[in-house]
Symmetry: C2
Subunit: 135 residues, 2 copies
Amino acid sequence: MNYTINEVAQKFGLSAHTLRYYDKEGLLPFIERTTSGNRVFTDADLNWVALICCLKDTGMPIKEMKTYSQWATLGAETIDERKQMLTEHRLEVTRQIEKLQQNLKLIDEKIEFYNDPDNIELMEKMKERVRSRAN
Amino acid sequence: MNYTINEVAQKFGLSAHTLRYYDKEGLLPFIERTTSGNRVFTDADLNWVALICCLKDTGMPIKEMKTYSQWATLGAETIDERKQMLTEHRLEVTRQIEKLQQNLKLIDEKIEFYNDPDNIELMEKMKERVRSRAN
DNA sequence: GCTTGACTTAGAGTTAACTCGAAGTGATAT
DNA sequence: ATATCACTTCGAGTTAACTCTAAGTCAAGC
């Protein structure tokens, strides 16, 4: 099955502009063209785009994804490099998740603070005396 | 206990530049000054900066944090607005975590793919025939 | 009293990742 | 065959969040 750039864009919630930009930046090294120059995406390309989106969404810079893409074009001899990059990135993602969970905790504490009528009463009383700080 | 801008910057892994930038953008509405105009951070301000960092790290734009900060200066009467903003943002953060966990799964699958000798062998055989795609 | 160093401001510059516009080409519908 | 439409390229513009520079102020130590 083949897909046009707009079909792929729709599937991944990107714009055709963005896909061309990724292509220009060397992130889509496998995409073939029609005789008239239009990009043709195969199912294998869709998997590739999915990986690129995954790496992008987890904060990998375009430059690094480009390196990964170049390694992929070189075939089996770059497997170790690619595996290492993904393994390091994996660790990065787990750190992001941990950080988010900590931050979520702080937000929950803040919401809890607002849910406690005692705190609200205190804030109301403070009104005219001291400027309420850090609430 | 009071702190200088550099002490606070160090504590939160920010630069003094960035803290001044946040102040200019209205994110630090409670910070007092010395007679000579230097910022003085109290412990309450440290808690406030911690919240700002938390919101920033979870993707809240500066504009929205500014709104929140302005509400905070108005005192108890804006508690509902603030609680609602945090509650919506909380949901956003849980979505981020879910998305990251999905992406982590894909990365793990990819690493698993590279760890399977069968796949490596396949890739090596493909070398001269078809350009390796989506690996 | 002068130097040093940390601070101040306003505003310009940078970076990453898009995002858009202009000008043009090719395939399909009438 | 001509209008439409999706595509192409190149390059300029945008946005958010810093990041830095220049010019200046202030307090403490020699």
